[in-house]
């Protein structure tokens, strides 16, 4: 240990980074964000379809950023990252799921039904 830490450049997860990867990640996120903004602003879709499309855009952005900017994949040297990511998944389900549930209950009681929102 007295020789100190290994050179960080040699770590495999650091080796994964390259300016090409960063730019790809950046461009994909930017493109999808513009697409989503454009779709919302142009109002050319019914609300429900719009919601679906921008959700998918968001999901692709998240994955692109995780891969290209954070350099996470499921290989051996990323095992701690994978473990923590898997452990966080329940939190996403809890926060988003419970929020959806409480607000749908709230809207049932407080909001007039909106046409086209598909709330049975």
């Amino acid at each position: 240990m007295s020789q100190g830490h290994d050179n960080p450049i040699h770590h495999p997860e650091v080796q994964m980074s390259s300016s090409r990867g960063y730019f790809t990640g950046f461009l994909i996120s930017l493109g999808l964000m513009f697409l989503a903004t454009f779709l919302v602003a142009s109002g050319s879709m019914p609300p429900f379809g719009l919601l679906m499309v921008i959700t998918i855009c968001a999901a692709i952005t998240v994955i692109a950023q995780i891969y290209f900017l954070l350099h996470l994949d499921i290989s051996e040297h990323n095992i701690w990252n994978t473990v923590s990511l898997v452990l966080f998944i329940p939190l996403f389900i809890i926060t988003i799921g419970l929020t959806w549930w409480m607000f749908s209950q709230l809207y049932l009681r407080t909001m007039p039904m909106m046409p086209g929102m598909g709330m049975h």
Binding site: M1, S2, G4, L91, L98, T99, M102, L106, L108, R109
Partner: protein, 702 residues
Amino acid sequence: MLVPLAGGWNPLLGRLALDQIPYNNPILAPLFVVVALGALALIALITYYHKWGYLWKEWLTTVDHKKLGVMYIIIGLVMLFRGFVDGLMIRTQQVWANGPDSSGVFGAVHGYLTPFHFGQVYSAHGLIMILLAATPLLVGFMNIIVPIQVGARDMAYPYLNALGLWITAAGAALIMASLFIGDFSHNGWFGYAPLFEIQYSPGVGVDYWIWTLELLALGTSLGGINIIATIVKMRAPGMSWFKLPIFTWASLSANIIALTSFPALQLALALVASDRYLGSHFFTAGLGGNLMLYTNLFWIWGHPEVYFVILPAFGMMSEIFPVFSEKPLFGYITMVAASFAIAGVSWLVWLHHFFTMGAGPEVNSFFSIATMLVGIPTGVKVFNWAFTMYRGRLTFSAAMLWAIGALFLLLVGGLTGMMLAIPAINYMVHNSVFVVAHFHSMLLVIVYAVFGSVIFWFPKVFGFKLDEYWAKVMFWLFSAGTVGVFVPMYMLGFMGETRRLDYVFNTAWHPYLVAEEIGIFLYCLSVVAFFVLLYVSIRDRVKNQVGQDAWGTSRSLEWLTHSPVPFYNFAVIPHINERDEVAWRRQHGLVQKQPEKYLDIHMPNNTGMALYIGALTFVLAFALTWRIWWLCLGSLVAIIALMIVRSFQGDAGYIIPAAEVERMEKEALAREARIQTGAHPLPAGGRPVPGEAIAYERQDKL
């Protein structure tokens, strides 16, 4: 401009103008003079004693986790004092502005604070106490103790650690700046949608609030990453997970919550900022926004946050009880499991802060039951502490008194929390001072644990004990204050006093308000006792010197190294044999065993970079608050540039040669021998060690 602004704006100074300086405010102007004179005196003193070089080299540019921790604690104590003064102002206003016949001064109809000013005081009080007093105090202790407890030389990322500290300091500076430049938010510490929207709060107060919180969230997240990495990666040889000291476990669980929940706050505030700066409508009722969405997002962070601050406090209590009971902690495994159970459940309960939103009986029942589930692991902890003390050899030292006080407060706060968790009760007392009394009981658990820890770990960091007599005087005054303020507050809550009143209409409540004022007066006395405690202890520091095992009965690894802890923590990293390593070594006569030979030590270099970036984040946040766009851009670019510079510099660290280590160790051992920790003489030979014990790794293998 992106959104219409009330008042002027110019490209050079943004919204900043001379009339934003409250030079004619009868409270703030004199305060400013006092603060300015104090700062000048401090600068003069430092210059007179030629301490600038020392300050710069040893503190401002340090990456040593102990010094950073001490600075965190100093920030925490200073802000605790500021928050306390805010509390004093709130109490005084309420007892004064009681009933239609009460007098008014300084432009207020009743009392001495106008409603707008009063709103700022309670908002600042809440924000400061939770995020700038409790959090830095706890982060400071985790910073100091965790690396030593796991047998590391520093944090995993020493530079990041310094960065976290300076960003936190920038947050503290920003909220202090709001005292004298412009004003602070009057929306309460958590903010009410849509009151914080620019149409209803046109001033800069809410902007100060947003950016202070953003800075603190950033700083605390950075600290959290560091502590988690340190615990996971830097444990001493032999320290398997179930030999981890309990405070370290508590820190791990707490920081996992912090790291996962703070993004929710940052997001919520970013959306508020978007509403205020860009004119979006996330939290207004118009154009598809939703006010309750803000409350929802805030408490998704807010409830885990309160457990982020209580779990380290539980860890501190778990360290103090065994040492002064001379017994190992009862139920170590259940204690660890309880910490993680609390951390997990804390994610499922946030709606209990807005039961009255009216999401309906199913939703409210779910969150009510989830909230009550927290009581189970908390109860496990309480019983574990009780059983630790049961038939122990108790010493009622000052640290132990604070820990026991924390235990009682936990009962009061926990049980009132359980009451609040029942929606039927909650609808009656929500937004009353009953809630205020509940969470003050809980947050006082933290304050008690922190003061206990200050006394408990002070000798480790500074090499001498605090004065027991004055520490006890302070404890009793503080506890009397706690009873005086919060017992009447619970009663007023039941009588229906709502929270945050700048004018209390009901004169029948006057006796209770007077009782609370007497309580806060006792708190003032305890603050005086604290200063006396510091003075007396520093005066008698030679007499109160202690060696490595300051209490004679201590148990975990931090007590193995010298007091004060050398900057490299351990000359040779010890091998861990048992959960309570020091207790075990003491039992087997191994405490004094020194390594056979010393090796070179690799340490990180100091750097001013963290301080520069911290200062720039302050500038950035200040410029955002006042909408000085060129300054925002400039400071942002400078921050990015500095980060790039730093990443190219890297830090190779430096080597302390083995001979130098040996010399410093000899000195420390000589000091140790001079002091002779009196009360508990070390057993000469000790019991034989079963199997083969290793005190230090074999050094030819390293």
